[in-house]
C-alpha cells in the first residue's frame, strides 16, 4: 500500500475572478489543473493518483455561477452545481433531462459540490450529465485570456477523458436550446440509485407531431470512450410514424450500433442489450 496522500502539500491558487484564472492558464509557468468541486479529482488523489504540480481553484468564481433563461436558450454557468440545477425551477421545463441527470449524480453531498463544468471537463464516458447535454444540440463556451469561443457539444468530447478544450481554456458556460414541444427523458442504470457510477445511461429529446416523429436526439453514456449520440437511430426515426414495429426496429438498431466494453461495472452484453431497452423506453414515453 502506498502512504496516504498528504493533501496539505497540494499547491492550490485561488483566483477571485475568471480574468485572474484565465491569466494563470495563459502562461505555462503558472498554468495548473483546474479544480472545481473536487468530487472527481480529490477522489483520484485520495486513491493514489499523483496530484498535479499546480492547481487552480475555480470553485465559486462569480462569472461561472449564473443561469440565464432567454426566449430560445438556457445558459448555465460551468460552476453551477448539480444541487442548484436539481432545485432550480426556472430551467426544469426547458431542459428536464439535464435536471434529472443532475439529480442522479452521487447523492446530496456530491450534488452540493460537483459542477456541470467539472462533470464535462472530467470527460468520463460515465459522466451523468453528458448525454443530457448532448441531446440539446447546444454549445459549450470556452474562455481563455484571448477570447471566448463556442464548440458544439457534439464535438466537445473527443476521446476517453479528452475534450476539445485547449490547455489555456476554461469551460465558462453551456448554451442550451430549450426543448420546446419535444419530450425529454433521462434514465440511469446503476447498481443502486445513489452513489453508484452508472452502468449505462440515456437521454433523449424527441418531437412527436400527429403520431409522426419529427426529430429525435438520443444519447448514451458508458457505451463508448465518450458519451455518444445514436446518429443512425435518430436518422432512422426521423419522419416515421410511431408504431410498435418502429420501436422494435429502433431497439434492434440501437443494439447493433453500439460497441460497449466490459469493465468492473458491467458486461458488454448487458450494456448492448440495455442500450436498446433504453431507446425503447424513450419511445414508449412520449406522451
Amino acid at each position: 500500500m502506498s502512504p496516504p496522500m498528504n493533501f496539505d502539500l497540494l499547491n492550490i491558487r485561488f483566483p477571485k475572478t475568471l480574468d485572474e484564472a484565465v491569466a494563470f492558464q495563459a502562461d505555462e509557468r503558472t498554468r495548473g489543473r483546474l479544480l472545481a468541486g473536487g468530487t472527481d479529482l480529490m477522489v483520484q488523489w485520495a486513491a493514489g493518483a499523483p496530484p498535479p504540480q499546480r492547481l487552480i481553484s475555480i470553485w465559486g468564481l462569480p462569472e461561472l455561477s449564473a443561469i440565464r433563461v432567454s426566449k430560445e436558450m438556457v445558459e448555465i454557468g460551468a460552476g453551477v452545481t448539480h444541487a442548484f440545477l436539481r432545485d432550480c425551477t426556472d430551467i426544469r421545463a426547458h431542459v428536464p433531462a439535464l435536471v434529472a441527470a443532475a439529480a442522479s449524480v452521487g447523492a446530496t453531498q456530491i450534488q452540493a459540490r460537483g459542477t456541470l463544468g467539472g462533470n464535462a471537463a472530467n470527460a468520463s464516458p460515465a459522466g451523468d450529465t453528458a448525454p443530457a447535454l448532448l441531446v440539446t444540440d447546444g454549445m459549450v463556451m470556452l474562455a481563455s485570456a484571448q477570447r471566448f469561443r463556442t464548440v458544439p457539444l457534439t464535438a466537445f468530447w473527443t476521446g476517453y477523458r479528452q475534450t476539445a478544450a485547449q490547455p489555456d481554456e476554461i469551460i465558462a458556460a453551456f448554451l442550451l436550446p430549450k426543448k420546446g414541444r419535444s419530450v425529454e427523458r433521462f434514465r440511469k442504470i446503476g447498481t443502486r440509485k445513489a452513489q453508484a457510477i452508472s452502468k449505462i445511461m440515456a437521454a433523449s429529446r424527441i418531437r412527436l407531431h400527429g403520431g409522426t416523429i419529427e426529430s429525435a436526439a438520443i444519447a448514451l453514456g458508458s457505451v463508448a470512450a465518450t458519451p455518444i449520440r445514436l446518429g443512425k437511430v435518430e436518422a432512422f426515426l426521423a419522419g416515421k410514424k410511431l408504431s410498435r414495429r418502429l420501436v422494435e426496429e429502433a431497439e434492434a438498431l440501437a443494439q447493433a450500433s453500439v460497441a460497449p466494453i466490459a469493465d468492473i461495472r458491467s458486461s458488454a452484453e448487458y450494456r448492448r442489450w440495455t442500450a436498446g431497452r433504453l431507446v425503447r423506453d424513450a419511445l414508449e414515453n412520449l406522451q
Binding site: 496539505d8 486513491a47 452521487g106
Partner: protein, 164 residues
C-alpha cells in the same frame, strides 16, 4: 507549502484559521480544531461519515480543500447541531428508536437529516431515503434511522413551525 487564512462562521462563532492551502476540511476540523464528530470512513466521498453543512447544504469534508470555502462561509458540524433544538430533537429520536449501533455514521446521518428538515418539515419516506442516500450505515439496515427522522420531524412540527 503556502498557508492561507479564512474567517468562517463555524458552529455559530466567527472563527479565523490559518492552514496549508490544500488542507482538507476534514483534517482541519479533526486535527486543528479537535472537532472529531466528523469521521473519516472511506476518504473518497462515498460513505458520508465526514458530512458537514456548508451554507446549509450537506457536503463531504474529505473532498474539500478548506481554502475553497471563502470568508463568510457558514459551517455547521455535529458539535454545533447538538446546540440547536432541531439537532437535539433528532439526537433524542435516534436514541429512542434504536437507530444507533456502532455510531460511526451517525454524525453524518444527523446532519443530513437536519438539513432535510430545515428545507422540508414534513418529508415523505422517499424524501428521507433520498436525503440520506449519501450516508452509508453497515449496522442498522436503515429502517430505524428512517423511523428516527420521521419521529423527529413529527415532534418538531408539533412544537414549532420552523425547526431551528
Amino acid at each position: 507549502m503556502k498557508s492561507i487564512e479564512r474567517t468562517w462562521k463555524l458552529n455559530g462563532t466567527a472563527t479565523t484559521l490559518r492552514f496549508p492551502a490544500g488542507r482538507r476540511l476534514l483534517d482541519l476540523l479533526r486535527e486543528d480544531l479537535a472537532l472529531t464528530g466528523a469521521k473519516e470512513g472511506c476518504g473518497e466521498g462515498e460513505c458520508g461519515a465526514c458530512t458537514v453543512l456548508i451554507d446549509n447544504d450537506p457536503a463531504v469534508s474529505c473532498l474539500i480543500p478548506a481554502g475553497q470555502l471563502p470568508d463568510g462561509t457558514t459551517l455547521l458540524t455535529i458539535e454545533g447541531v447538538e446546540k440547536k433544538r432541531a439537532g437535539r430533537v433528532l439526537q433524542k429520536a435516534f436514541m429512542e428508536t434504536g437507530a444507533v449501533q456502532c455510531g460511526f455514521c451517525i454524525p453524518g446521518m444527523v446532519l443530513a437529516a437536519y438539513a432535510l428538515l430545515q428545507r422540508n418539515p414534513k418529508p415523505s419516506t422517499a424524501a428521507i431515503r433520498t436525503a440520506l442516500a449519501g450516508n452509508l450505515c453497515r449496522c442498522t439496515g436503515y429502517v430505524k434511522i428512517i423511523a428516527a427522522v420521521k419521529l423527529a420531524a413529527a415532534r418538531l412540527r408539533k412544537t414549532s413551525s420552523t425547526p431551528g
